[in-house]
Symmetry: C2
Subunit: 321 residues, 2 copies
C-alpha cells in the first residue's frame, strides 16, 4: 500500500507551472494566494458523489474533468477567470491507475484554463470528490443572479438536454446508438465550462447562472434573486438533433428544461445588448440563443408553446426529494 | 420531505452579520470576496468522514464544531486570521433536528472567530463534511513549514494525546471514567483551534504546523520542508494527567506522539525568541512548551528519553495504510 502522503504528492503535487501565481501551493497547512489590486475573488464548491452525480464505473479521467468543470462553470456564471482549485478526494482505495487517469483528466482541464491546484485532502471512503474553485473578477463586474431587469432578454449558451439524454441512454431509459449516444454521453461526462463566454459577458449581461439542475429550476433561482418572472418560449430553446430519440413530447420537454447537468449558462441582457451578446458567444465559438424575456411579477418561470402556457411539473434535480 | 434549497436556506443562509465582509455570500453561483491591500489569503480544505474521522453517533453539534475547527487549525498554523468558510455537506437524509444541531455547533465556532459562511453544496449520501476555510495574513508574514533553521527550538501548544485517549476510551481500548473521560472525549470532539496564538506567533515563530496526525508525523513534515532533523525530548512533551490511564509505556507514548487529532500547533523559533513565544502563548491563556531542538540533517524526527534514542514505529495516521 502506498502512503497517503506519497499518493497525494505523486499525483497532485505537480511542480508549479512557470505561470504559477500562488505564493504557496500544496505542501503546507494552507495555500497562500494574492488577489490583484482591484479584483474580487469568486469562490465556489461542489461535490460529485458516486451513484448520485455520476454512475459507478465512470472513467476516472472523465470524473477528474467533470469535478473541476462543474466548479469552473460556476465561476463562468460569475464572469470570473478561474485561477486556483482545491481538491478533497474520498477514495475507497489508493489505486494508482485510477489516480493517474483521474489526475490526467483534472489537470488537462486545469491547464486549459490556467488553474493551479493549491491544496487538498485525501480520505478513504465511498468515492466522492469535492472541488473548491477560486477565480478573479474586476471589483463590481461580476455577473450575479440578482442584476436582471424587467424587459431583459433571456439567453442560453449551447444546446440543452444533451447530458440528460446521455444519462437516460446509459440507464436504458431511452435508446441512443452510435455517434448520437457518444455525443450525449460526452456532454454528460465531459461538460465544457463556458469560461470564455462568461468573461466576455461582463458588462453585457445583467445576470447569469449556470445550468446544473435544468433551465426551469436554475432560471427560477435567477428570477427569485432578481424578483422577476421569466417567460420562456419553448420553441426557441436550443436542442440537440438527438432529442428526437425521446419517444414522447413529455420526455423531450423534461430533457430540455429539467434534465440537468447541462453546465451551459443562462443569462439576461437588455435588448440593446443583443449584438454584443452574439459577439460574446459566436465570437468565441459558442452558440447563444434568445429563449425568452423577463417580466415584472413574482419570481416564477412560465413556459409558452406559441401563445399557450405549458404546464410543467416543478423541475430541477433535488437531492432531498 | 424538505427541498434541498429550503434546507440549505433555512439552516445555513443566515443573514450576514453587520460585520459581513464578503461582497456576496450564499445564494449565487460563487461568493465574492476581497482581500485587503497588502494581505494574502490562506486557503485550506479538510474532510471529516463518518467512521474515519468521527464515530457514528457523534453529536451533530460537535461535528459542526469540529468540521470548522480542523480547518481553522490549519489557518492558525499559518498565522492567518480566519474570515470565510464554504461547507460541502453530504447527508443520508434531510433531518431537521440533525441540521439544527450541526449548524448551531458550526456557527457558534464561526461567530467566535468572525468567520462568515459564504457558500456550500448539499448532497444526499454517506455522512461526510468538507469545509474550505479562507483567512487573511499580511503579505510575507505567514508561518510556513519551510522557514525553520538549525538551532531553533521546537515548541507545542497545550497538551498532546488527550484526543487520542478520548477516542481510545470511546472504542473501549483504554478505561477512562468520569471527568477524565469527559475531558478526553471533549478534546476529541471539540478541538479548540489555536487561532489567537497562531496570529501572535507571526514574526516570532520561524515555522509552524498543526498537529492532526500526531507530533511525530507532523513534525516530520515540517522537518522535510525545512530540510532539518528534529530532536524531541520525550520527558518534556506536555501530557494530560489522564495519560496514566494507559496501561503500558508503549500505549502512552503512542497517544502522546502519534495518536493524532490534537489540533495543537507545533512550531519552531530561535532561542532568542523564548520570551516572546511564552507571551504569545501564556499571554493568550494557552500553555506553550519547549520540547526539542532542530539540527542539521536529513529531515527526520528523533525522540530521546534522557540521552537515550527511543525507537518509535513510524507514526501518524495514514488513511491508506
Amino acid at each position: 500500500m502506498t502512503s497517503e502522503f506519497d499518493l497525494i504528492r505523486r499525483h497532485f503535487a505537480r511542480p508549479a507551472a512557470a505561470s504559477g501565481r500562488a505564493r504557496l501551493g500544496i505542501g503546507d497547512d494552507a495555500a497562500l494566494l494574492r488577489a490583484p489590486a482591484g479584483a474580487e475573488l469568486a469562490v465556489t464548491t461542489d461535490t460529485l458523489l458516486e451513484g448520485t452525480h455520476f454512475l459507478r464505473g465512470t472513467h476516472p479521467g472523465r470524473l477528474g474533468h467533470k469535478a473541476l468543470a462543474v466548479n469552473l462553470s460556476d465561476l463562468a456564471a460569475m464572469g470570473a477567470v478561474p485561477r486556483y482549485a482545491l481538491l478533497a478526494l474520498t477514495l475507497p482505495k489508493a489505486d494508482t491507475r485510477w489516480l493517474t487517469a483521474f489526475s490526467e483528466g483534472f489537470f488537462r482541464l486545469a491547464r486549459r484554463y490556467g488553474v493551479e491546484l493549491v491544496g487538498g485532502d485525501t480520505t478513504r471512503g465511498p468515492l466522492s470528490i469535492t472541488v473548491t474553485a477560486i477565480g478573479e473578477v474586476p471589483a463590481g463586474k461580476a455577473l450575479r443572479r440578482d442584476g436582471a431587469q424587467a424587459g431583459d432578454d433571456i439567453w442560453v449558451t449551447g444546446t440543452l438536454g444533451d447530458a440528460a439524454m446521455g444519462l437516460a441512454a446509459l440507464q436504458g431509459h431511452i435508446r441512443l446508438t452510435g455517434r448520437a449516444r457518444q455525443h450525449c454521453v460526452e456532454c454528460l461526462e465531459m461538460p465544457q465550462p463556458r469560461v470564455v463566454v462568461g468573461r466576455a459577458l461582463r458588462g453585457v449581461a445583467s445576470a447569469a447562472i449556470d445550468l446544473s439542475d435544468g433551465l426551469l429550476a436554475d432560471l427560477g433561482h435567477l428570477c427569485e434573486r432578481s424578483k422577476l418572472t421569466a417567460e420562456v418560449w419553448l420553441d426557441c430553446v436550443p436542442r440537440p438533433d438527438e432529442i428526437s430519440a425521446c419517444r414522447t413530447t413529455a420526455v423531450a420537454r423534461h430533457m430540455l428544461l429539467a434534465g440537468g447537468d447541462d453546465y451551459e449558462l443562462a443569462f439576461t441582457a437588455p435588448p440593446r445588448m443583443r449584438a454584443k451578446v452574439e459577439r460574446a458567444g459566436f465570437g468565441n465559438g459558442v452558440m447563444v440563443t434568445r429563449v425568452g424575456t423577463l417580466k415584472r411579477g413574482s419570481a416564477r418561470v412560465r413556459v409558452y408553446e406559441g401563445s399557450t402556457l405549458v404546464r410543467m411539473p416543478r423541475g430541477g434535480y433535488d437531492h432531498f426529494r
